[in-house]
Structure formats: C-alpha cells, structure tokens
Amino acid sequence: MSPISDIGTILPILLKGLDITLRVLIVSAIFSYLVAFILGFGRLSKKFLIRTISGIIIEIFRGTSLIVQLFWFVYAVPILFGIQFDSIFWSCVIAIAMNYGSYMSETVRGSILAVAPGQTEAGIALNMSSFQRMRIVIFPQAVRMMLPEFGNYFIQILKATSLISLVGLSDIVFQGQKYTNINLSQTPTVYFLILVVYFIIALPFIGLTKWFEKQSSKGVAS
C-alpha cells in the first residue's frame, strides 16, 4: 500500500477520537481559566486566610507533576474521599483544570500587579470603590496582558489532553494505539499523523497568541 492510501484509511480512525480530545480540551480550558481567576484573586485578597489557602493550593498543584495528579485523581481520589466521579472524563478535567489553573493564576496575579499604580491612585481620586476600581480600571488593562499567556496555556492544555489516553479515555492517541496493535507496520505513519492532527488544532492558537502579543504591547501605559 502506498503511504497516501495509508493516510486515507488511518485518518478516519484517528478522527473517531478527535471528539473526546476536543471535549476534554474545551471543558478543561474553560475550567482552568475559572480556577486561574479564583486562585489569582484569592492570592491578592486582603484576608490572610484566603491568601494562604490559595497559595497552598497553587504550590501543591504546581509542585507535583500533571501526570501524577491525573493518576491520583483517577485512582486515588475516589477511594480516599468516597467520591465517585461520573466518569474518568471529569477526573481528567479536574486534574488538568487544577494544574493549569494554578499556573495561570500567577499570570492573573502578575498582570493585575503590573497595572501601573497611578491607575489605582486615579481611581481613588475619582472616589471609586475598590470593586469599581478593579472592574472598570484595573481589570480591563490586566486582561490585555493576560491574553497572550492564556493563548500559550491553551496550547499547553491541548498537549496535556494526550495524557488522558493513559487512563483509558478513547482520544486520538488511544485510537491510534488501538489501530497500531493490529497494524504494526503502520506505527510510524499513525503516530506522525497524530502529531500532525495536534499541530493543526494548535495552529490557529499559535497565530492568535502572536497577534495578542502584538496587540498587548501596543499603547499600554508603562
């Protein structure tokens, strides 16, 4: 068989797993951003307890490896806390969201702190409440700085979704493995095609991130 017709037979099989890969990607990306904002703001809180707890959570999830967390959430948490997640899907989403959320919370915190202090002072001078200051003045400027990093992390999360095949979710990698078990000789083609599929999914986000980077460096008061 020629390599071209190989691709014709392999690609549809891989694409059967695309659905689960994209689902895990999108759900865990949304949750990661949510976790990032909660922990990022928690870290900036004036209350000591909130600050410390968010700090501990961030350090725990950044200090251990994602793949270990994934195994821990899938195998250990259900036993430890007697929680049964509906499916491995949610265990995976929670592990990825907590891990990348912790990393991104530092981006959130850093961006908010990077907004020039004069902006806060101006807000105070205009007699805004601290919530108004954050909502109208600080936050919109901080988000601009966060976006490029968020784009980068989206690609990181995409790469992380490949790990879910290790705990038994039938994503692209899993489908590929299943296929190569029967068609040994096509192993190189299959894995290379999987890489290409991931690259194609990442491509728009690579462009978007670069665009954000250009935008966010434009006209920001320093």
Partner: protein, 238 residues
C-alpha cells in the same frame, strides 16, 4: 469505603524510592541534552538563508506545540517499524532524545531572548573595535547574555522533572511506573500514587524556592549594572 492504609504506604516506599533515582538521573540527562541541543536551534536560526529559516521555524513550532507523549510513542513504537529495518532504541534513549528535543525548543527561546537582550551598543562597539567573530561572541556577547537567563533555565529543570513521569508510558522504570506496578501487585493505587505525589512536591518545591531567590538576586545585580543604571543615567541627563 476503603481508608488510607499506612502499612501499604510504607511498604511501597522501597520500590518508589528506587524509581526516584531513575527519575532524578533521567531529569539531569534530559536537561543536559536539551541545554546542548538548544544551541543547535539558535545556530540554525541565525543562518541567513530565508527558506532554511522558515523550515527551522516550522519544525520548532511543530515540536513545541505537539504532545511530548506522542513524540515519545513515535520514537519508541514508530521508529522500529520504519520500512527497511528501522531503528530500535532503548527506553532510556527514547526518553532522553524525545524529551530532550522537545525541551530544547523552549530552551533555545531562552538563549535567543538572552542574546537579544544584550545592548545594541555592545555589538556596535565590538564591530568598531574590529574584534573577530569568536572574540565578539565569547568575550562580549555571551558573558552578558548567559547570566540573566540562569533563573529561567533553572525553572526549566523543575518543569522537566515534572514531565519525566511521561516516560513511564515507554516503560522507563521511574517513580510512576514503580508505583503503578506496586499498585497492580497489591491492588492498591491510593498509597503508592500519594507517595509519588508527595515526593514530587518535596523535591520540586524547595528547588522552586531556591530559583526564586536566585532570580531576585540576579535582578538586583543586573538592575544595578546594566539597564537600571542606564535608565538612571539618562534620567539624570534629562
């Protein structure tokens, strides 16, 4: 509902500990490889030939934005099946090559940013002094480019340490694989995986703190010597 069994926790210690040495050794090996290979990208990117530059950029972007797990699978399961014999590599070689090349793409960015951060005047001055290419790089540019990148490179050592468990899927007997095997033998995954997570935390958190301190120290030093000083000077003039 089962509870945490401390006996099993301690029982899993020797196996996981043995895996820890593999994980640590592999981290160092991958890191050294990535540091060295990172230079290859930097040099390739500096060759002034447009098509080659586009090709290098594409390859870099491809390696960087695809999952290292699949890259490992490609090397481990794919290469031996290539038509015409193929190449069979040991798990350790696959791990060093796969993760090393993957991370070299990130590390080359750090090198690049370090080189670009060197003041333009330094290049001009070395041209004006008619220094040879070798002297320019080794005496002027690199001594200024490398020190500020050290904390960032340190960060990558920790990031790499946390990615090493990936190699358990190509049967490198690191911490994760040892824990998995222990779990399969005793039908208890909670204790060994918890131990692995704890060891990761214990090893990576103190190193992260050390690197943060190094970063603060470096920032202070370079603010005094380079850009900070220059800014202060220009302010004084204005």
């Amino acid at each position: 509902m089962e509870k945490f069994n401390w006996d099993l926790f301690w029982e899993s210690f020797p196996a996981v500990f043995q895996g820890m040495w593999v994980t640590l050794g592999l981290t160092i090996a991958c890191y050294v490889f990535a540091m060295l290979f990172g230079f290859v990208w930097v040099i390739l990117k500096r060759i002034p030939f447009k098509p080659l530059q586009w090709l290098v950029a594409l390859v870099l972007e491809f390696i960087r934005s695809t999952p290292p797990l699949v890259q490992l699978f490609f090397l481990f399961f794919g290469l031996p099946m290539l038509p015409g014999g193929g190449i069979t590599l040991s798990p350790i070689t696959v791990a060093i090559l796969g993760l090393g090349v993957h991370f070299s793409t990130y590390i080359s960015e750090i090198y690049r940013s370090g080189i670009e951060a060197v003041d333009k005047g330094q290049w001009e001055a070395s041209t004006a002094l008619n220094l040879s290419t070798k002297d320019k790089w080794f005496k002027i540019i690199l001594p200024q480019a490398i020190p500020p990148t050290i904390p960032m490179l340190g960060n990558y050592l920790i990031i790499m340490f946390k990615e090493i468990p990936l190699t358990s899927s190509v049967s490198v007997a690191g911490m994760l694989l040892m824990a998995k095997e222990f779990g399969a033998d005793h039908y208890a995954y909670l204790e060994p995986y918890t131990l692995v997570a704890l060891l990761f935390l214990l090893l990576s958190y103190p190193s992260a703190l050390l690197i943060k301190r190094l970063e603060i120290k470096m920032n202070r030093r370079f603010d005094k010597n380079s850009s900070g000083g220059a800014k202060k000077l220009s302010k004084g003039v204005a």
